[in-house]
């Protein structure tokens, strides 16, 4: 299959590439555009560390051929940083000690943002389900879930614990 030109809007910037048929979005984001928050834990869709938002949906960039998302809008954690939309979540992660080695954290951030975008008031079960595709080997997940609950409580006006 042939290479072709693909256009993407990544973190608000228009980008254009010539890509092979199976070039993954992850390689373009990490290696061509240097968005190094997009981590590579497995390259086989198993860990969630490469999570990004494509046209409002949570996707694994490692399993996404760039040619298939031609014309899409892609958001990585760098994009969320720019809009400052996740400052509260980041503070909750710090307050709740929700990261240790930090390698899964960018993917977690993106997955949580996608969850809150579609459901601003998730229950604990819904939070757990929303993070089901993201592996963390350090924290045991509970601090991460508490960080999400903290930001949900803040957004709904209640005080977090």
């Amino acid at each position: 299959m042939a290479s072709r030109i693909v256009s993407l809007k990544v973190n608000g910037q228009n980008e254009e590439f010539i890509v092979g048929a199976l070039t993954s979005l992850q390689d373009i984001l990490r290696d061509t555009l240097n968005y190094t928050s997009v981590k590579e834990g497995c390259r086989q869709g198993g860990c969630g560390s490469c999570s990004v938002i494509i046209d409002g949906e949570l996707r694994l960039s490692c399993l996404t051929p760039v040619q298939e998302v031609d014309g899409s809008e892609v958001t990585t954690l760098e994009g969320l940083n720019q809009s400052n939309s996740i400052a509260a979540l980041q503070q909750q992660f710090i307050d709740k000690y929700a990261a240790q080695c930090g390698f899964c954290t960018p993917g977690m951030m993106v997955a949580i943002q996608a969850l809150l975008d579609r459901n601003p008031n998730p229950s604990r079960d819904e939070i757990t389900e929303g993070l089901a595709g993201n592996i963390c080997r350090c924290t045991g997940y509970l601090p991460i879930i508490k960080a999400v609950e903290g930001v949900v409580a803040e957004m709904s006006g209640a005080s977090g614990d």
Binding site: N34, T36, S37, K39, E40, G41, C42, R43, Q44, G46, C47, S49, T76, L77, E78, N81, L89, Q90, F93, I94, Y97, A99, Q100, C101, G102, F103, C104, T105, P106, M109, I135, C136, R137, C138
Partner: protein, 449 residues
């Protein structure tokens, strides 16, 4: 002074890099951007035990994008290593790149360096190695039997030989056999654990960058043992350590799974040969299949116990599956010995901790090296003892818990004992009601309670 008045003790400490973790700005080794970087992929053994008859790299060398192919013949210094050689552990038994024989499925044989990871992978698959398969052994007890296949020539009986020609790391304290004869009950069992992959989210890897002119090379690595990696790499390459600059940093999870020191030497050699930066990153499959796991352990425990709950003798024989090579297993075996017979005062103790070689993936450290399997075995055994003599398991542990000043089987007096208070605090949290005399027990006074 109350804990709340202390500035450090009892206070939470913020992780140094937590602020950049949450923004994705923490720099891990592979976030380093280097121009003209090459990629290394390893051709690995497909047999757990085989003689190497011939290595043919001609097709790999002419494959698209390939810049360099390395076999054991290209190693300028040592062909074998042990990661702890710098601190006196040996012998150096593990091939850097296999020659003569492979001893586990997945052993490194030929390194292929190419312009892209895909080209390196495709070329590595074109390496042809002719093997004569040999009988292999995968079980520690099978490996110790007469006539079992010998894993390496260093260990004719498939077990490590500790200093002073001992088959095991040992503890000898009191007279267990005499105590067994006097005991009201004998309780014995065998406890086994399986290998466990540490599975850090970031796989093992490094980037080696030649700095030009004087031949100095900078290595960005996620090793957990930076100094060991530096020493081993210098040794294998036959260069002084002053020619190498190793840079660590935030590691994307390790749990003991990043002390193999495998990626750095060969990647540094590749950078030296090509004059270009080289990256070697384990795939997830390599991380699971090739990087060392926690070892499998077999712990045999025999206890002599009195009707009142006192354990008067404990005899332990432990077997640790080191896989095909030593790595850090003798250290793990000795640490295991130091951990046994647990936090209990027992007047007669006998321990043998044996490191066994098999044709399995070499094992190495993981959170509580030598300790986790020991604690598992000990505490299941304690429950079994309690059940056998009809005693509450909390009470059994409190009776036997060591007290300040007790002599341990390693001939060291117990200092800063806190076992009794820890059990009592746990009982409180768990809502466990203990008789009053047990609640009054103290680490400072065996007669209390």
């Amino acid at each position: 002074m109350a804990i709340k008045d202390l500035k450090i003790v009892g206070q939470p400490v913020k992780l140094r890099d937590l602020d950049t973790h949450v923004t994705g700005e923490t720099v891990y080794y592979e976030d380093i951007r280097v121009p003209r970087m090459l990629h290394l992929k390893m051709h690995r053994s497909i047999y757990p035990h085989a003689k190497i008859l011939n290595i043919d790299t001609s097709e790999a060398k002419s494959s698209a994008g390939v810049v360099c192919v390395l076999t054991h013949e290209d190693l300028p210094g040592k062909k074998k290593y042990n990661g702890l050689a710098g601190v006196g552990v040996g012998p150096e038994d593990e091939s850097v790149l296999a020659f003569e024989k492979v001893r586990w499925k997945g052993e490194s044989v030929v390194a292929v360096i190419a312009e892209t990871p895909k080209q390196a992978e495709a070329a590595a698959a074109k390496v042809k190695v002719d093997y004569e398969e040999l009988p292999a052994v995968f079980d520690i007890m099978e490996a110790l039997k007469d006539g079992a296949p010998v894993v390496t020539d260093h260990w004719p009986n498939n077990h490590y030989i500790f200093p002073d020609n001992h088959r095991a790391a040992q503890v000898r304290y009191g007279d267990v056999e005499k105590a067994f004869a006097e005991a009201d009950h004998i309780v014995e069992d065998v406890y086994q654990t399986q290998p466990i992959e540490q599975a850090p989210l970031e796989t093992n890897g490094c980037i080696a960058v030649p700095e030009g002119g004087d031949g100095r090379i900078t290595v960005y690595s996620n090793t957990q043992g930076l100094q060991f990696s530096l020493d081993v790499t210098a040794d294998i390459l036959g260069v002084p350590t002053s020619k190498l600059r190793f840079i660590g940093g935030t590691v994307g999870g390790g749990f003991g799974g990043k002390v193999d020191l495998q990626p750095e030497p060969i990647t540094t050699l590749a950078a030296m040969r090509t004059g270009r930066p080289v990256k070697f990153k384990y795939t997830r499959e390599e991380e699971m299949r090739v990087s060392s796991s926690r070892s499998a352990w077999r712990v045999e425990i025999k206890d002599g116990v009195m009707n009142d709950g006192r354990i008067i003798a404990r005899k332990i024989t432990t077997y640790q599956d080191s896989g095909a090579y030593l790595r850090f297993s003798s250290y793990g075996g000795m640490k295991h010995c130091g951990h046994m017979p647990g936090p209990y005062t027992i007047p007669n103790v006998w321990i043998d901790s044996i490191v066994v070689f098999t044709n399995r993936t070499p094992s190495n450290a993981m959170r509580g090296f030598g300790v986790m399997a020991g604690s598992f075995a000990l505490e299941v055994q304690m429950d079994k003892v309690a059940e056998t003599i009809g005693m509450d398991p909390w009470e059994l542990r409190l009776i036997n818990a060591y007290r300040e000043g007790d002599m341990k089987s390693h001939q060291k007096e117990v200092e800063d004992a806190g076992m009794v208070e820890t059990i009592l605090a746990a009982a409180k949290l768990a809502g466990k009601q203990l008789p009053e005399e047990f609640q009054k027990m103290s680490s400072l006074d065996r007669k209390a309670g």
